[in-house]
């Protein structure tokens, strides 16, 4: 089913007819998706439905075979991951990736905006006081300010997730792509994480997230897409999607959708 939205002229993110084939596998098969500024959009779908491949393509880590990806009408195709970040797209990975040997503060500082920055300027100067202050604020925001001097590798997995998020936010993105943000995070931190994500969204940052924790994704998302076999098979409000026959079939062939990871 093609996306039923389109009343607005231009969405923040438009993915059109995206295809990606690996040897013997079709990961994406003409996928369409639109995200408007200010939304929280959830992506669900069984394993292998192409969610992570989609994120890789948007973020410039993979180049799609066909189709287009536009941010504010401007194509992101052919840009390096760093350049995509420069356009205001932040992302977290399926498994949290922080710099294990850098302190938490340095991890966040690494995420500062690199737009119009020359190597020489970076070599001559340390981070500006305002930048350092913002990094501290972000650490506080995710509740890690006490651990600013600890190495990334010494934090718990859940804390690494939060640190990764803080580093991504440091680049002042317009859109963030979160790949299973709650996976492997203990329940206490999950609540903190979800609260922070709502706050981030309220501050004007658009969020697209892949999530298997149904409770989390349904409470968070304003709208959801269900993917299967590299295509969007359903789109709509969380409650509507839960009952969608196409979704139920994709997951189980039949039955009720009540899985929680």
């Amino acid at each position: 089913m093609a996306p039923a939205r389109g009343a607005r002229d231009m969405s923040l993110l438009e993915v059109e007819g995206l295809s990606k084939h690996f040897v013997g596998v079709t990961a994406l098969d003409g996928l369409h998706l639109r995200v408007d500024a200010g939304e929280i959009v959830g992506l669900i779908g069984p394993n292998g439905s192409g969610k992570t491949t989609l994120f890789h393509c948007i973020a410039g880590a993979l180049s799609p075979d066909h189709g287009d990806i536009r941010l504010n009408g401007e194509s992101l195709l052919g840009l390096s991951p760093a350049a995509v970040c420069g356009h205001g797209v932040g992302r977290t990975f399926q498994l949290a990736r922080v710099f294990a040997g850098l302190t938490a503060l340095e991890n966040v500082l690494a995420g500062q905006s690199h737009r119009e920055e020359s190597v020489l300027a970076a070599a001559v100067r340390g981070s500006a006081p305002t930048v350092r202050r913002r990094a501290r604020e972000l650490l506080e925001f995710v509740g890690l300010d006490e651990l600013a001097g600890e190495r990334g590798g010494e934090l718990s997995y859940g804390q690494q997730r939060l640190l990764e998020l803080a580093a991504v936010l440091m680049g002042e993105p317009r859109l963030i792509l979160l790949d299973e943000p709650t996976a492997g995070v203990n329940p206490v931190l999950v609540d903190r994480l979800l609260a922070r994500l709502r706050e981030i969204n309220r501050s004007g940052i658009t969020i697209v997230l892949i999530e298997h924790n149904m409770e989390a994704v349904m409470s968070l998302s304003g709208r959801m897409y269900a993917l299967a076999m590299g295509r969007t098979i359903a789109e709509g409000a969380p409650e509507a999607l839960r009952e969608s026959p196409a979704v139920l079939e994709a997951y189980f062939g039949a039955g009720r959708l009540s899985v929680r990871r």
Binding site: T103, A110, A123, V124, S127, G149
Partner: protein, 337 residues
């Protein structure tokens, strides 16, 4: 409520070690500068000069290998290119090596950029292997070229000794002070890089290139800058070495053994630390000299075997380098930034 107190404490912690290192560094330089005046034996002066040469080479390699994590095993090529550039300029066009050393560094940096183009597509071991191969290729080329003297090498205009214009002296002292100055400047530059944003970015790239890229750090750009800077200093040191030994050939300034010796210095002392190459050079070079003077005369390479065995033993004893040990002894709090 507790916050201002803690912020103050961390400020003190930050100023503490850096002020202490600055004082320690200044004292070390003062002692070093006085040393050759006290030690009049030419042999010991020679060992001091070679130690400082390896401090510079180790710092330069550490920039790209230790901080950015790109293990070049071809640094001898940059060293040799620098040595040949300035020597040819001096012999053919009587350009002073004082200028030639910068030209040599620049040519070495250019070669580095050309090498980087294909090599940075490779990661970790593959990058190391590619640079090893390219280093060897450069050496073989210089063996084959006629205009570089081929296997015969080049002799500097020793008949003009002493001549400050030609950077040629009979005494070791001027050489010592030149290389000491270079070592101090290069070490201060590394300190600067470590404190700058560049240091954070290079270490980030070292640890996870994709994670750095998604934060907007273009890995290729920063790796290239690190390699070019490293090659520049290495080439410049090549010029100094040519002036010091007054004779160069592809074996002496481009051998893969030289590349390995350069890598050993920061690896032994501590990768990605300022003190690492200094500790490494002042341990490994005297050690190699001691084994050479003790067992070198036998003509069967026993000295190399002993040197190698001692390095293996030291590495087993200090995995991660001497600085890793130092860090373990230091209180945890000192690490906070």
């Amino acid at each position: 409520m507790g916050r201002p107190v803690r912020a103050e404490a961390s400020l003190v912690e930050r100023a503490g070690p850096s002020a202490r290192s600055a004082a320690l560094g200044a004292a070390a330089v003062a002692v070093l500068a006085a040393l050759p005046l006290l030690v009049e034996d030419i042999y010991y002066q020679h060992v001091l000069v070679i130690c400082l040469v390896y401090v510079v080479l180790g710092q330069a390699w550490n920039m790209v290998g230790g901080y950015a994590g790109q293990w070049s095993l071809g640094h001898a090529a940059f060293f040799g290119v620098g040595a040949y550039t300035s020597t040819l300029l001096l012999l053919r066009a009587t350009v002073s090596p004082w200028l030639g050393m910068f030209v040599g560094g620049f040519v070495a940096a250019t070669v580095a950029c050309l090498i980087a183009f294909p090599c940075f597509r490779l990661r970790t071991h593959y990058f190391a292997m590619a640079t090893l191969a390219i280093g060897e290729t450069v050496r073989v080329l210089f063996l084959a070229f006629d205009w570089t003297g081929g296997a015969t090498g080049l002799v500097l205009p020793v008949q003009r000794i002493p001549s400050s214009y030609d950077m040629l002296w009979a005494s070791k002292l001027p050489y010592f002070y030149v290389i000491l100055a270079v070592a101090v400047v290069v070490t201060l530059l590394i300190v600067q890089v470590e404190r700058s944003r560049l240091g954070v970015y290079l270490r980030a790239i070292n640890q996870d290139e994709e994670a750095a890229a998604r934060l907007g750090i273009e890995p290729r750009r920063y790796k290239l800058a690190a390699l070019a800077g490293s090659a520049f200093v290495t080439g410049l040191t090549g010029t100094f070495y040519a002036q010091y030994t007054t004779y160069i050939d592809p074996f002496s300034v481009m051998s893969p053994m030289l590349s390995v010796r350069i890598v050993l210095v920061p690896v032994f002392g501590g990768l990605g630390t300022v003190a690492g190459p200094i500790i490494g050079a002042f341990t490994l070079i005297p050690l190699s000299e001691i084994t050479r003077t003790t067992w070198g005369g036998r003509g069967v390479g026993i000295d190399q075997v002993v040197y190698g065995a001692i390095i293996v033993w030291l590495t087993v004893w200090t995995p991660g380098g001497v600085m890793a040990l130092v860090r373990r002894w230091r209180p945890r709090a000192a690490r906070a930034t």
